[in-house]
Amino acid sequence: MANIPAPEGRRHRTRLHNRTLNWLRNPVHSIGAAALLFLAYTIVWPVLKIAYTTFVWRQQDVRLTGAANPGHFTLYHWTRVLASDMSASLFYKPILNSLAVGATVSALSLVIGCSLAWLVTRTDIPLKRTISFLAVIPYLLPAWILSQAWLTFFKNGKIGGTPGILQSLLHVSPPDWLSYGFVPIVISLSIHDSVFFFLIVGAALSSMNSQLEEAASVAGARRLTVLRRIVMPLVLPSILSGFILIFTKAISSYGVPALLGTPVNFYMISTMLYSSMRSRLTTEANVLSLTLMLISMLTIYLNQRAVGRRRSFVTVTGKGSARRLTPLGPWRFPAATAAALIMAAVAVVPLLVLLAQSFMLKEGVYRLSNFTTHYWWGGSDPDINTGEKGVMQNPIFLLALKNSLYIAGAASVVASVTGLVLGYIVARGRQSWLGRAVDQVSFLPYLIPGVSLSELYISMFAKPTLFIPALYGTIGLLILITVVKELPFTVKAGSAAMMQIGTELEEAAQLGGASWLTRFRRILLPLNRKSLVSVFLLVFIGAMKEMELIIMLVTPRTETLTTLTFYYAEKCYEQLTNVILMIIIAIVVAVYAVAVKLGKADLTQGIGGQ
């Protein structure tokens, strides 16, 4: 009796073994499994840790209620947030605000991003490169700068100080709804983030074969029908991707809603969450961030259902295809002028004013005698900023510059390749649980508060675990966290790009005996080169601006330009802060120029596609 099941079991085991091997032989599966392991450790594990804390009493909770019993299971935190007399102010009002802001920002960015993308990719509008470049600039500036600019124009008497420009010119006080709260928050965030929409949708549009449209026209379809039946289905996946990306970015943003929302008691989950953190009610903050995660997972799920059911539309095939541009006719120049002017107003003017300010001894005094280079490279002068030297004379400037370049450079290279590989899994494994899981999980990092993630990373990487070395205190951890934090964007861009590339190129190579690595290196990388460069650029910008993540993880050796800004800002040395900002922007522009030159990539065709 005992002997019989053994061979049976062994045979069963061999079969299982073979099946597993077979399953893994598919690169989507093997790489997908590896990717999932990576995501599990860097994202799922931290999220689970966060989730765990919300069901346990902590010592801190004794402050909230006498019933607290440290270390034991409780639902108190969830009931407090979701169903107590606090819930309306603590959760429901803020969540409604968050959802409204998120949805409106996405919609507005969709309009801005898609129209720009269409103009640049599908029409014969002149100045394409200029317009595309200008579109990136608002993202270069910290988001709060745009809201500060908004206040300068539209603020009313409510928050005092210098009156807004509108008020001093027209002598009318703008109503509160125009000055603060929902409207300006939505507009600032949309201007700042619509570049993502522009790039992602631009990619889909630019790689779309005009023959499809032409065929439809020849068959007698009207313009609107072509748009509805041909163009829309093709770009819908990109639009949905962009929508979720912007939605997530908007509901997780802090600086803009804090500045513009506070005067009218307009709180979002992100501002409430920040407050919980600062007040050391960590568990409450965790519950709030988990609710955001649940919401976005739900949207992604719906998105997968919407896109997943459709057939996928391959637009990049082995065959060359002509792309015919829609002539704008007499509108060509007016459209270009209008686009360039609008972009200049929101992008270039702020930049120039910042630049001018960094050369002004006293801000706001427009005289030649007020011109100074002190803040750039001046020595110590006790009359200016209590003797603070110019930025370039600061002893740690060079070190900070080097660190910033190294972190941002390395992180963005790693991030863009990681994004492409994970995007490959998502695109090719769209019908399998693996692809969906990677898609879902890679979206969470935007919603994990930066500070919580950094804290968890200290614990996770302070000591060597298994084969992972102790990364804390090295630049490696800063790079890792930047890569992880940018995954939502890089994976979306990567999968959008991959989704457009037909499998037949790969299959042909496979028949020719090429390994997956060769295929990736020789086919997928070159085809996605432009997308890669654009992703690299955006991650680079993000990393150069990053503050929250880095501040917790730096040790003094890893001082960066942003930590230097932090120091100047605290002391109110505005011009010095501006100088650093200008240096960062100059670096990004230089990197952009190099990327365009070497990578032969430009943003006119968006991210993804050829």
Partner: protein, 423 residues
Amino acid sequence: MNMLNRLHTNKPAKAALVLASAILILTACGQTNDADGANASGGNNASANAGGQAANETAAAGNDAAGNAGGNAADASASADSADALYAKAKEEGKLIVYSTSGRANDAAETFMKQYPEIKVEVSKVKSDEILDKVTKEQDAGQFNPDVIITKEVSGAVEEEMVKPGRYLKYLPADIAPMVDEPYRTQAEAYANYVEFRTIFYNAKHYAEVPVKNWWDLTTPEFKGKVYTADPLSSPAFMDLFTTMVVNSDDMAAAYKEKFGKDIELHGTENAGYEYIQELFDNGLIVLKGSDDVLDAIGKADRDAVGLAVSGDVSKNEENGWTIQPIYDIKPKTSVPDSGYFFLANKAPHEAAAKLFVRWMMGETDGKGAGLDPFNQVGSWVPRSDVQTKNDIPYESLNLWAFDGEALYNTAPKVRDFWIKQK
């Protein structure tokens, strides 16, 4: 910002200026995180530095070394702690690492490295609550990185979560201790090198004399819609002031009676402290993001509004073109101290250098060293009887509530809940 005046006088430049001004304000420092101002306050002295008792001045003079028992029990004698002895040891260590909530540490480090060129100081500037998390996680993982911690309180959490479990250690050199004012000599959780507090600021251009004498003045029709505060929800140090009012609600009730001549009537609130918060809201309190936003609001133009900000901000007057003045005498008490504490970190890897740096920042034995300069400023007091303050009022005469860390730690969440419900 005289841009606006010019807007009216200089017509040709008008168009350019309109565009330009879009961003003029953009870098107002209010937008950046002002760690120093944003964090919580004060020492956990059960006893008081309050009430304007000047007793310390005399007490300190006749003090003996035993008086600092609570301060540095671990440190043997003054001689082992002398600057020379420490420097000899510190040279071998070569450097030290500081986690500081205030940029003042950078300034002190600069002079320190001139004095002791063989020791390199590396300063990480982090907010108080983040230092707390960072150090906890590091120490739990067996990493002991920082040597010196310069931090504000976070509603009592620094004492409860860091000092009591031994993560931050007190250090007060024996030769300096006798000159230190209470509570910072023995009673507080540690020595604080500077003390600030939140108080009411007004525009000196508009008001010839101090417009507010009692906290309850802000609830009168005269100030309807004219009171600003930084958001206590994102700056817990502001919440600490309100929490202290709740904790000392009897004082608030007494001040009410003094102001209105009748006993306070509670409208569904628990005590006079909560009632005060509610009445502030009823009177149209305007909440802004940060301390600098508040000062911009009242200081940039000729305004009759008043606002709550940090005393130390008065030193930014010239830099920002403000004409603001803080009020240093309000009934029942002006405020609650927000102290900048010095700690040594547990298992500090460069202990001698750390002690040497702390001594330097304290201004050495006689309090005259250059290291003290960044801390001894207008609006910020050094609690040493032998140090001449730059303020008109000496530290001992400030009428402040005691910082009761334990009470704040336990009451703060309830006051925060109450605040959130007002919205």
